[in-house]
Assembly symmetry: C2
Homo-oligomer: 269 residues x 2
Protein backbone atom coordinates (compact mmCIF):
# COMPACT_ATOMS: atom_id res chain seq x y z
CA UNK A 1 0.00 0.00 0.00
CA UNK A 2 1.42 3.32 -1.15
CA UNK A 3 -0.39 6.50 -0.14
CA UNK A 4 1.44 8.52 -2.78
CA UNK A 5 -0.54 6.62 -5.37
CA UNK A 6 -3.77 8.04 -3.97
CA UNK A 7 -4.57 10.84 -6.39
CA UNK A 8 -7.66 12.81 -7.35
CA UNK A 9 -8.12 12.81 -11.10
CA UNK A 10 -10.29 15.19 -13.12
CA UNK A 11 -11.83 13.65 -16.21
CA UNK A 12 -13.35 15.57 -19.15
CA UNK A 13 -16.05 13.55 -20.85
CA UNK A 14 -18.32 13.78 -23.88
CA UNK A 15 -21.43 11.69 -24.31
CA UNK A 16 -24.45 11.24 -26.52
CA UNK A 17 -27.36 11.85 -24.16
CA UNK A 18 -29.82 9.96 -26.38
CA UNK A 19 -28.34 6.73 -25.10
CA UNK A 20 -28.56 7.38 -21.34
CA UNK A 21 -30.91 8.59 -18.62
CA UNK A 22 -28.69 11.58 -17.89
CA UNK A 23 -25.47 11.73 -15.87
CA UNK A 24 -26.50 10.92 -12.34
CA UNK A 25 -26.77 7.41 -10.89
CA UNK A 26 -30.34 6.13 -10.89
CA UNK A 27 -31.84 2.92 -9.55
CA UNK A 28 -33.41 1.38 -12.64
CA UNK A 29 -31.84 3.04 -15.66
CA UNK A 30 -28.52 3.30 -17.41
CA UNK A 31 -26.69 6.57 -16.74
CA UNK A 32 -23.29 7.90 -17.77
CA UNK A 33 -22.07 7.96 -14.16
CA UNK A 34 -23.03 4.33 -13.73
CA UNK A 35 -21.30 3.14 -16.92
CA UNK A 36 -18.15 5.14 -16.18
CA UNK A 37 -17.94 4.09 -12.50
CA UNK A 38 -18.34 0.46 -13.47
CA UNK A 39 -15.52 0.72 -16.03
CA UNK A 40 -13.22 2.55 -13.60
CA UNK A 41 -13.91 0.03 -10.85
CA UNK A 42 -12.98 -2.77 -13.25
CA UNK A 43 -9.73 -1.02 -14.24
CA UNK A 44 -8.81 -0.46 -10.58
CA UNK A 45 -9.04 -4.18 -9.83
CA UNK A 46 -12.48 -4.05 -8.25
CA UNK A 47 -11.83 -1.12 -5.87
CA UNK A 48 -15.11 0.78 -5.94
CA UNK A 49 -14.77 4.22 -7.60
CA UNK A 50 -17.24 7.02 -6.95
CA UNK A 51 -17.36 9.92 -9.38
CA UNK A 52 -18.15 13.45 -8.32
CA UNK A 53 -19.78 15.23 -11.26
CA UNK A 54 -19.67 18.94 -12.07
CA UNK A 55 -23.41 19.00 -12.63
CA UNK A 56 -26.39 16.83 -13.40
CA UNK A 57 -27.56 16.62 -16.97
CA UNK A 58 -31.08 15.43 -17.78
CA UNK A 59 -31.95 12.44 -19.90
CA UNK A 60 -31.39 13.30 -23.57
CA UNK A 61 -29.01 16.21 -22.93
CA UNK A 62 -25.60 15.77 -24.56
CA UNK A 63 -22.17 16.73 -23.28
CA UNK A 64 -18.92 17.69 -24.94
CA UNK A 65 -17.04 18.81 -21.86
CA UNK A 66 -18.65 17.34 -18.76
CA UNK A 67 -16.22 17.20 -15.83
CA UNK A 68 -16.04 14.68 -13.02
CA UNK A 69 -13.38 13.71 -10.51
CA UNK A 70 -12.58 10.69 -8.39
CA UNK A 71 -9.95 9.47 -5.95
CA UNK A 72 -7.81 6.54 -7.10
CA UNK A 73 -7.21 3.61 -4.77
CA UNK A 74 -3.59 3.21 -3.55
CA UNK A 75 -3.13 0.38 -6.02
CA UNK A 76 -2.95 -0.66 -8.77
CA UNK A 77 -1.11 2.43 -10.00
CA UNK A 78 -2.32 3.48 -13.45
CA UNK A 79 -0.83 6.52 -15.20
CA UNK A 80 -3.27 9.11 -16.62
CA UNK A 81 -2.22 8.22 -20.19
CA UNK A 82 -2.79 4.51 -19.62
CA UNK A 83 -6.13 5.26 -18.00
CA UNK A 84 -7.26 7.49 -20.89
CA UNK A 85 -6.46 4.79 -23.45
CA UNK A 86 -7.97 1.97 -21.42
CA UNK A 87 -11.20 3.88 -20.79
CA UNK A 88 -11.70 4.81 -24.43
CA UNK A 89 -11.08 1.19 -25.37
CA UNK A 90 -13.57 -0.21 -22.84
CA UNK A 91 -16.32 2.41 -22.88
CA UNK A 92 -19.13 2.40 -25.44
CA UNK A 93 -18.63 4.88 -28.33
CA UNK A 94 -21.42 7.03 -26.90
CA UNK A 95 -19.06 8.00 -24.04
CA UNK A 96 -15.59 9.38 -24.81
CA UNK A 97 -12.88 10.60 -22.45
CA UNK A 98 -10.97 13.66 -23.69
CA UNK A 99 -8.53 14.44 -20.90
CA UNK A 100 -7.52 13.14 -17.48
CA UNK A 101 -5.43 15.31 -15.16
CA UNK A 102 -4.39 15.21 -11.51
CA UNK A 103 -5.97 17.84 -9.26
CA UNK A 104 -5.55 18.54 -5.53
CA UNK A 105 -7.20 15.93 -3.29
CA UNK A 106 -9.56 18.58 -1.91
CA UNK A 107 -10.70 19.63 -5.42
CA UNK A 108 -14.46 19.59 -5.93
CA UNK A 109 -15.66 19.23 -9.53
CA UNK A 110 -18.95 20.92 -8.67
CA UNK A 111 -18.10 23.67 -6.19
CA UNK A 112 -14.77 24.69 -7.71
CA UNK A 113 -16.37 25.42 -11.09
CA UNK A 114 -16.24 29.12 -12.00
CA UNK A 115 -18.84 28.68 -14.68
CA UNK A 116 -20.26 26.59 -17.49
CA UNK A 117 -21.09 26.95 -21.16
CA UNK A 118 -24.12 25.30 -22.72
CA UNK A 119 -25.07 25.41 -26.39
CA UNK A 120 -28.57 24.81 -27.69
CA UNK A 121 -28.96 23.86 -31.38
CA UNK A 122 -32.04 24.87 -33.39
CA UNK A 123 -32.57 23.33 -36.82
CA UNK A 124 -33.99 26.03 -39.12
CA UNK A 125 -33.92 23.70 -42.13
CA UNK A 126 -37.58 22.70 -41.80
CA UNK A 127 -36.96 19.05 -42.57
CA UNK A 128 -35.57 16.55 -40.13
CA UNK A 129 -33.20 13.70 -40.88
CA UNK A 130 -32.55 10.82 -38.48
CA UNK A 131 -29.13 12.36 -37.76
CA UNK A 132 -30.11 15.96 -37.06
CA UNK A 133 -33.16 14.81 -35.06
CA UNK A 134 -30.89 13.49 -32.31
CA UNK A 135 -28.95 16.73 -31.88
CA UNK A 136 -31.23 19.68 -32.60
CA UNK A 137 -34.72 21.06 -32.14
CA UNK A 138 -36.55 21.29 -35.47
CA UNK A 139 -38.28 24.63 -36.09
CA UNK A 140 -41.54 24.48 -38.04
CA UNK A 141 -41.49 28.16 -39.06
CA UNK A 142 -38.96 30.91 -39.64
CA UNK A 143 -37.56 32.76 -36.63
CA UNK A 144 -36.89 36.45 -36.05
CA UNK A 145 -33.32 36.09 -34.80
CA UNK A 146 -32.89 39.81 -34.07
CA UNK A 147 -35.84 39.71 -31.69
CA UNK A 148 -34.35 36.62 -30.02
CA UNK A 149 -31.07 38.51 -29.54
CA UNK A 150 -32.97 41.44 -28.01
CA UNK A 151 -34.73 39.11 -25.58
CA UNK A 152 -31.41 37.42 -24.71
CA UNK A 153 -29.98 40.81 -23.62
CA UNK A 154 -32.56 40.91 -20.79
CA UNK A 155 -31.22 37.58 -19.47
CA UNK A 156 -27.60 38.69 -19.16
CA UNK A 157 -26.54 39.67 -15.64
CA UNK A 158 -27.48 38.51 -12.15
CA UNK A 159 -31.16 37.66 -11.77
CA UNK A 160 -33.56 35.53 -9.80
CA UNK A 161 -34.39 32.90 -12.45
CA UNK A 162 -37.41 31.43 -10.64
CA UNK A 163 -39.47 31.85 -13.84
CA UNK A 164 -36.98 29.60 -15.63
CA UNK A 165 -36.55 26.60 -13.37
CA UNK A 166 -38.44 23.36 -12.87
CA UNK A 167 -39.02 22.29 -9.22
CA UNK A 168 -38.10 25.69 -7.76
CA UNK A 169 -39.12 24.51 -4.28
CA UNK A 170 -36.18 22.08 -4.15
CA UNK A 171 -33.52 24.82 -4.17
CA UNK A 172 -32.67 27.53 -1.61
CA UNK A 173 -32.35 30.36 -4.14
CA UNK A 174 -32.64 30.88 -7.86
CA UNK A 175 -30.15 33.70 -8.25
CA UNK A 176 -27.61 33.05 -10.97
CA UNK A 177 -25.42 35.14 -13.27
CA UNK A 178 -25.40 34.82 -17.04
CA UNK A 179 -22.25 36.39 -18.49
CA UNK A 180 -22.97 36.00 -22.20
CA UNK A 181 -25.50 34.68 -24.69
CA UNK A 182 -23.86 34.13 -28.10
CA UNK A 183 -25.63 33.44 -31.38
CA UNK A 184 -23.79 31.50 -34.12
CA UNK A 185 -25.24 30.11 -37.32
CA UNK A 186 -23.73 27.20 -39.25
CA UNK A 187 -25.71 26.39 -42.39
CA UNK A 188 -29.28 25.68 -41.26
CA UNK A 189 -28.34 25.38 -37.58
CA UNK A 190 -28.70 28.27 -35.15
CA UNK A 191 -26.56 27.70 -32.04
CA UNK A 192 -27.27 29.72 -28.90
CA UNK A 193 -24.53 29.53 -26.27
CA UNK A 194 -25.09 30.49 -22.64
CA UNK A 195 -22.09 31.17 -20.42
CA UNK A 196 -22.90 31.63 -16.73
CA UNK A 197 -21.71 30.93 -13.21
CA UNK A 198 -24.20 28.11 -12.83
CA UNK A 199 -27.56 26.98 -14.15
CA UNK A 200 -30.64 25.68 -12.37
CA UNK A 201 -32.55 22.49 -13.09
CA UNK A 202 -33.79 22.70 -16.73
CA UNK A 203 -32.93 26.43 -16.76
CA UNK A 204 -31.41 26.54 -20.26
CA UNK A 205 -34.35 24.57 -21.65
CA UNK A 206 -36.75 27.05 -20.01
CA UNK A 207 -34.77 30.00 -21.41
CA UNK A 208 -34.79 28.39 -24.87
CA UNK A 209 -38.56 27.98 -24.62
CA UNK A 210 -38.73 31.74 -24.17
CA UNK A 211 -36.31 32.54 -27.02
CA UNK A 212 -38.18 30.21 -29.36
CA UNK A 213 -41.53 31.87 -28.52
CA UNK A 214 -39.95 35.29 -29.19
CA UNK A 215 -38.46 33.99 -32.45
CA UNK A 216 -41.84 32.74 -33.64
CA UNK A 217 -43.41 36.10 -32.79
CA UNK A 218 -45.76 34.76 -30.14
CA UNK A 219 -44.00 36.84 -27.47
CA UNK A 220 -42.56 40.35 -27.66
CA UNK A 221 -38.85 40.50 -26.65
CA UNK A 222 -39.67 43.27 -24.16
CA UNK A 223 -41.84 40.79 -22.21
CA UNK A 224 -38.65 39.06 -21.06
CA UNK A 225 -38.01 41.53 -18.22
CA UNK A 226 -41.57 41.21 -16.97
CA UNK A 227 -41.40 37.40 -17.01
CA UNK A 228 -38.08 37.44 -15.09
CA UNK A 229 -39.58 39.83 -12.52
CA UNK A 230 -42.63 37.59 -12.03
CA UNK A 231 -40.41 34.84 -10.53
CA UNK A 232 -43.05 32.36 -11.56
CA UNK A 233 -42.55 29.43 -13.95
CA UNK A 234 -46.21 29.68 -15.05
CA UNK A 235 -45.49 33.06 -16.66
CA UNK A 236 -42.86 31.76 -19.07
CA UNK A 237 -43.32 29.68 -22.25
CA UNK A 238 -42.89 25.92 -22.35
CA UNK A 239 -39.61 24.04 -21.75
CA UNK A 240 -37.55 23.20 -24.86
CA UNK A 241 -36.79 19.51 -25.52
CA UNK A 242 -33.52 18.06 -24.12
CA UNK A 243 -31.99 16.71 -27.34
CA UNK A 244 -30.91 20.13 -28.70
CA UNK A 245 -28.82 20.87 -25.60
CA UNK A 246 -25.08 20.34 -25.16
CA UNK A 247 -23.04 20.96 -22.01
CA UNK A 248 -19.99 22.39 -23.76
CA UNK A 249 -17.50 23.06 -21.00
CA UNK A 250 -17.06 23.40 -17.25
CA UNK A 251 -14.61 26.19 -16.43
CA UNK A 252 -12.25 26.01 -13.47
CA UNK A 253 -10.57 29.31 -14.30
CA UNK A 254 -11.89 32.64 -15.54
CA UNK A 255 -9.52 33.01 -18.47
CA UNK A 256 -10.65 29.87 -20.30
CA UNK A 257 -14.24 30.94 -19.66
CA UNK A 258 -13.66 34.39 -21.25
CA UNK A 259 -11.90 32.80 -24.23
CA UNK A 260 -14.59 30.21 -24.90
CA UNK A 261 -15.99 30.59 -28.40
CA UNK A 262 -18.13 28.28 -30.53
CA UNK A 263 -16.41 27.70 -33.88
CA UNK A 264 -18.32 24.73 -35.18
CA UNK A 265 -21.51 22.79 -34.60
CA UNK A 266 -21.16 21.01 -31.24
CA UNK A 267 -21.77 17.56 -32.69
CA UNK A 268 -18.93 18.06 -35.21
CA UNK A 269 -16.40 19.16 -32.60
CA UNK B 1 -63.60 -2.43 -53.25
CA UNK B 2 -62.15 0.06 -55.72
CA UNK B 3 -59.35 -1.09 -58.01
CA UNK B 4 -58.47 2.50 -58.88
CA UNK B 5 -57.25 2.88 -55.34
CA UNK B 6 -54.64 0.21 -55.92
CA UNK B 7 -51.47 2.23 -56.54
CA UNK B 8 -47.77 1.57 -56.37
CA UNK B 9 -46.04 4.19 -54.26
CA UNK B 10 -42.32 4.99 -54.23
CA UNK B 11 -40.99 6.12 -50.87
CA UNK B 12 -37.69 7.90 -50.25
CA UNK B 13 -36.34 7.16 -46.80
CA UNK B 14 -33.48 8.19 -44.55
CA UNK B 15 -32.36 6.22 -41.54
CA UNK B 16 -29.68 5.99 -38.92
CA UNK B 17 -28.16 2.59 -39.50
CA UNK B 18 -26.71 2.39 -35.97
CA UNK B 19 -30.18 1.57 -34.71
CA UNK B 20 -31.03 -1.30 -37.06
CA UNK B 21 -29.67 -4.54 -38.49
CA UNK B 22 -29.71 -3.10 -42.00
CA UNK B 23 -32.65 -2.69 -44.38
CA UNK B 24 -33.73 -6.22 -45.20
CA UNK B 25 -36.19 -8.29 -43.15
CA UNK B 26 -34.44 -10.72 -40.81
CA UNK B 27 -35.79 -13.35 -38.47
CA UNK B 28 -34.47 -12.24 -35.08
CA UNK B 29 -33.43 -8.60 -35.41
CA UNK B 30 -34.99 -5.22 -35.96
CA UNK B 31 -34.55 -3.93 -39.52
CA UNK B 32 -35.76 -0.80 -41.30
CA UNK B 33 -37.94 -2.84 -43.67
CA UNK B 34 -39.62 -4.56 -40.74
CA UNK B 35 -40.36 -1.33 -38.84
CA UNK B 36 -41.66 0.42 -41.95
CA UNK B 37 -43.82 -2.53 -43.12
CA UNK B 38 -45.36 -2.83 -39.67
CA UNK B 39 -46.24 0.88 -39.62
CA UNK B 40 -47.66 0.80 -43.17
CA UNK B 41 -49.73 -2.30 -42.38
CA UNK B 42 -51.17 -0.51 -39.35
CA UNK B 43 -52.04 2.59 -41.43
CA UNK B 44 -53.72 0.41 -44.08
CA UNK B 45 -56.07 -1.11 -41.51
CA UNK B 46 -54.14 -4.35 -41.13
CA UNK B 47 -53.74 -5.15 -44.84
CA UNK B 48 -50.25 -6.64 -45.03
CA UNK B 49 -47.82 -4.40 -46.94
CA UNK B 50 -44.63 -5.74 -48.50
CA UNK B 51 -41.88 -3.30 -49.42
CA UNK B 52 -39.61 -3.79 -52.39
CA UNK B 53 -36.29 -2.10 -51.61
CA UNK B 54 -33.84 -0.59 -54.09
CA UNK B 55 -30.95 -2.37 -52.41
CA UNK B 56 -29.87 -4.04 -49.22
CA UNK B 57 -27.83 -2.03 -46.78
CA UNK B 58 -25.75 -3.75 -44.12
CA UNK B 59 -26.13 -3.31 -40.40
CA UNK B 60 -24.67 0.03 -39.40
CA UNK B 61 -24.81 1.62 -42.86
CA UNK B 62 -26.89 4.81 -42.97
CA UNK B 63 -29.22 6.08 -45.68
CA UNK B 64 -30.30 9.51 -46.79
CA UNK B 65 -32.12 8.50 -49.95
CA UNK B 66 -33.00 4.83 -49.80
CA UNK B 67 -35.91 3.99 -52.13
CA UNK B 68 -38.60 1.36 -51.70
CA UNK B 69 -41.99 0.80 -53.26
CA UNK B 70 -45.18 -1.02 -52.35
CA UNK B 71 -48.68 -1.62 -53.66
CA UNK B 72 -51.50 -0.12 -51.63
CA UNK B 73 -54.56 -2.22 -50.80
CA UNK B 74 -57.83 -1.09 -52.51
CA UNK B 75 -58.92 0.46 -49.26
CA UNK B 76 -58.66 2.47 -47.09
CA UNK B 77 -57.64 5.20 -49.53
CA UNK B 78 -54.86 7.38 -48.10
CA UNK B 79 -53.44 10.29 -50.10
CA UNK B 80 -49.64 10.51 -50.44
CA UNK B 81 -49.60 13.70 -48.30
CA UNK B 82 -51.61 12.08 -45.54
CA UNK B 83 -49.41 9.01 -45.68
CA UNK B 84 -46.19 11.07 -45.47
CA UNK B 85 -47.42 12.93 -42.37
CA UNK B 86 -48.80 9.83 -40.68
CA UNK B 87 -45.60 7.83 -41.25
CA UNK B 88 -43.33 10.56 -39.89
CA UNK B 89 -45.59 10.85 -36.85
CA UNK B 90 -45.62 7.11 -36.15
CA UNK B 91 -42.09 6.07 -37.09
CA UNK B 92 -39.14 6.38 -34.70
CA UNK B 93 -36.94 9.45 -35.30
CA UNK B 94 -34.21 7.15 -36.63
CA UNK B 95 -36.37 6.59 -39.76
CA UNK B 96 -37.70 9.57 -41.72
CA UNK B 97 -39.76 9.62 -44.92
CA UNK B 98 -38.82 12.39 -47.35
CA UNK B 99 -41.12 11.88 -50.33
CA UNK B 100 -43.87 9.54 -51.46
CA UNK B 101 -44.91 9.49 -55.11
CA UNK B 102 -47.08 7.27 -57.31
CA UNK B 103 -45.22 5.18 -59.90
CA UNK B 104 -46.50 2.70 -62.51
CA UNK B 105 -47.73 -0.61 -61.03
CA UNK B 106 -45.00 -2.49 -62.89
CA UNK B 107 -42.23 -0.22 -61.46
CA UNK B 108 -39.41 -2.07 -59.72
CA UNK B 109 -37.43 -0.09 -57.14
CA UNK B 110 -34.43 -2.33 -57.64
CA UNK B 111 -34.30 -3.14 -61.34
CA UNK B 112 -35.49 0.24 -62.61
CA UNK B 113 -32.66 2.06 -60.82
CA UNK B 114 -30.19 3.66 -63.26
CA UNK B 115 -27.61 4.08 -60.54
CA UNK B 116 -26.81 4.94 -56.95
CA UNK B 117 -24.65 7.35 -55.04
CA UNK B 118 -22.92 6.39 -51.80
CA UNK B 119 -20.79 8.69 -49.65
CA UNK B 120 -18.19 7.47 -47.19
CA UNK B 121 -17.10 9.87 -44.42
CA UNK B 122 -13.57 9.80 -42.99
CA UNK B 123 -12.83 11.80 -39.84
CA UNK B 124 -9.36 13.34 -40.20
CA UNK B 125 -9.69 15.17 -36.87
CA UNK B 126 -7.78 12.50 -34.91
CA UNK B 127 -10.13 12.62 -31.93
CA UNK B 128 -13.51 11.01 -31.79
CA UNK B 129 -16.62 12.37 -30.10
CA UNK B 130 -19.71 10.26 -29.39
CA UNK B 131 -21.47 12.11 -32.21
CA UNK B 132 -18.90 11.79 -34.98
CA UNK B 133 -18.17 8.17 -33.98
CA UNK B 134 -21.62 7.13 -35.25
CA UNK B 135 -21.20 8.67 -38.70
CA UNK B 136 -17.55 8.53 -39.71
CA UNK B 137 -14.43 6.40 -39.68
CA UNK B 138 -11.74 7.91 -37.47
CA UNK B 139 -8.28 8.10 -39.06
CA UNK B 140 -5.34 7.64 -36.70
CA UNK B 141 -2.80 9.27 -39.02
CA UNK B 142 -2.73 11.85 -41.79
CA UNK B 143 -3.73 10.77 -45.29
CA UNK B 144 -2.22 11.55 -48.69
CA UNK B 145 -5.42 12.64 -50.40
CA UNK B 146 -3.77 13.15 -53.79
CA UNK B 147 -2.63 9.54 -53.82
CA UNK B 148 -6.15 8.46 -52.88
CA UNK B 149 -7.52 10.44 -55.83
CA UNK B 150 -5.01 8.80 -58.13
CA UNK B 151 -6.07 5.35 -56.93
CA UNK B 152 -9.74 6.29 -57.34
CA UNK B 153 -9.13 7.04 -61.04
CA UNK B 154 -8.31 3.34 -61.59
CA UNK B 155 -11.74 2.39 -60.21
CA UNK B 156 -13.74 4.55 -62.61
CA UNK B 157 -15.21 2.67 -65.58
CA UNK B 158 -16.55 -0.84 -66.12
CA UNK B 159 -14.61 -3.51 -64.26
CA UNK B 160 -14.94 -6.92 -62.71
CA UNK B 161 -14.93 -5.96 -59.03
CA UNK B 162 -14.35 -9.49 -57.68
CA UNK B 163 -11.46 -8.15 -55.57
CA UNK B 164 -13.89 -5.79 -53.86
CA UNK B 165 -16.83 -7.94 -52.89
CA UNK B 166 -17.63 -10.18 -49.95
CA UNK B 167 -19.22 -13.57 -50.76
CA UNK B 168 -18.36 -13.40 -54.48
CA UNK B 169 -19.66 -16.96 -54.96
CA UNK B 170 -23.25 -15.84 -54.30
CA UNK B 171 -23.47 -13.63 -57.40
CA UNK B 172 -23.42 -14.51 -61.11
CA UNK B 173 -21.00 -11.74 -62.10
CA UNK B 174 -19.08 -8.91 -60.47
CA UNK B 175 -19.01 -6.50 -63.41
CA UNK B 176 -20.19 -3.03 -62.48
CA UNK B 177 -19.62 0.51 -63.76
CA UNK B 178 -18.42 3.37 -61.56
CA UNK B 179 -19.17 6.70 -63.23
CA UNK B 180 -17.50 9.05 -60.75
CA UNK B 181 -15.58 9.16 -57.50
CA UNK B 182 -15.81 12.66 -55.94
CA UNK B 183 -13.72 13.98 -53.05
CA UNK B 184 -15.16 16.75 -50.85
CA UNK B 185 -13.78 18.05 -47.58
CA UNK B 186 -15.86 19.80 -44.93
CA UNK B 187 -13.77 20.87 -41.93
CA UNK B 188 -12.09 17.70 -40.62
CA UNK B 189 -14.32 15.35 -42.63
CA UNK B 190 -13.25 13.91 -45.97
CA UNK B 191 -16.26 12.66 -47.94
CA UNK B 192 -15.73 10.26 -50.83
CA UNK B 193 -18.75 9.83 -53.09
CA UNK B 194 -19.14 6.90 -55.47
CA UNK B 195 -21.69 7.13 -58.29
CA UNK B 196 -22.22 3.92 -60.22
CA UNK B 197 -24.80 1.75 -61.94
CA UNK B 198 -24.86 -0.65 -59.02
CA UNK B 199 -22.67 -1.90 -56.21
CA UNK B 200 -21.93 -5.40 -54.95
CA UNK B 201 -22.21 -6.69 -51.40
CA UNK B 202 -19.87 -4.56 -49.22
CA UNK B 203 -18.21 -3.21 -52.41
CA UNK B 204 -17.94 0.43 -51.26
CA UNK B 205 -16.51 -0.69 -47.92
CA UNK B 206 -13.93 -2.84 -49.75
CA UNK B 207 -13.05 0.09 -52.05
CA UNK B 208 -12.71 2.38 -49.03
CA UNK B 209 -10.38 -0.14 -47.40
CA UNK B 210 -8.17 0.24 -50.46
CA UNK B 211 -8.33 4.05 -50.54
CA UNK B 212 -7.53 4.23 -46.83
CA UNK B 213 -4.49 1.96 -47.26
CA UNK B 214 -3.30 4.16 -50.16
CA UNK B 215 -3.92 7.30 -48.05
CA UNK B 216 -1.84 5.92 -45.18
CA UNK B 217 0.96 5.09 -47.59
CA UNK B 218 0.84 1.33 -47.07
CA UNK B 219 -0.16 0.78 -50.69
CA UNK B 220 1.00 2.55 -53.84
CA UNK B 221 -1.89 4.01 -55.89
CA UNK B 222 -0.59 2.22 -58.97
CA UNK B 223 -1.27 -1.12 -57.26
CA UNK B 224 -5.01 -0.49 -57.73
CA UNK B 225 -5.04 -1.75 -61.33
CA UNK B 226 -3.18 -4.90 -60.36
CA UNK B 227 -5.58 -5.62 -57.48
CA UNK B 228 -8.61 -5.10 -59.77
CA UNK B 229 -7.09 -7.46 -62.35
CA UNK B 230 -6.45 -10.16 -59.72
CA UNK B 231 -10.24 -10.59 -59.20
CA UNK B 232 -9.47 -11.92 -55.77
CA UNK B 233 -10.69 -10.43 -52.49
CA UNK B 234 -7.54 -11.72 -50.72
CA UNK B 235 -5.42 -9.30 -52.77
CA UNK B 236 -7.15 -6.15 -51.51
CA UNK B 237 -6.88 -4.43 -48.12
CA UNK B 238 -9.40 -4.94 -45.33
CA UNK B 239 -13.05 -3.87 -45.46
CA UNK B 240 -13.87 -0.42 -44.01
CA UNK B 241 -16.37 -0.27 -41.11
CA UNK B 242 -20.06 0.26 -41.94
CA UNK B 243 -20.76 3.37 -39.86
CA UNK B 244 -18.97 5.81 -42.19
CA UNK B 245 -21.16 4.83 -45.15
CA UNK B 246 -24.29 6.60 -46.38
CA UNK B 247 -26.53 5.53 -49.26
CA UNK B 248 -27.19 9.01 -50.60
CA UNK B 249 -29.58 8.51 -53.49
CA UNK B 250 -31.08 5.95 -55.85
CA UNK B 251 -31.44 7.41 -59.33
CA UNK B 252 -34.32 6.49 -61.63
CA UNK B 253 -33.22 8.87 -64.37
CA UNK B 254 -29.83 9.79 -65.79
CA UNK B 255 -30.21 13.55 -65.46
CA UNK B 256 -30.61 13.58 -61.68
CA UNK B 257 -27.66 11.19 -61.49
CA UNK B 258 -25.42 13.53 -63.54
CA UNK B 259 -26.48 16.52 -61.43
CA UNK B 260 -25.89 14.85 -58.09
CA UNK B 261 -23.37 16.80 -56.05
CA UNK B 262 -22.46 16.66 -52.36
CA UNK B 263 -22.77 20.14 -50.84
CA UNK B 264 -22.71 19.34 -47.15
CA UNK B 265 -21.81 16.55 -44.75
CA UNK B 266 -24.38 13.78 -45.26
CA UNK B 267 -25.49 13.78 -41.62
CA UNK B 268 -26.25 17.50 -41.77
CA UNK B 269 -28.35 17.26 -44.93
Amino acid sequence: MNDENVRRLLVEISYDGSEYSGWQLQPRSSTVQQVLQKTLTKLFAGHPITLQGSSRTDAGVHALGFSASFVTPPEPYISTDQLLNALNRLLPHAIRIHTIQPVPLEFNARYDAKGKAYTYVLNLGREETPFTARYSWLMRQSLDIENMQTAAQFLIGTHDFSSFVVNRKNIPNAIRTIFRVDFNQFDQFLCITFVGNGFLYKMIRCLMGLLEAVGRGSLDPSETGRILAAKNRMMAPKTAPPHGLFLMKVFYNDITMKQFNLKQLPFLM
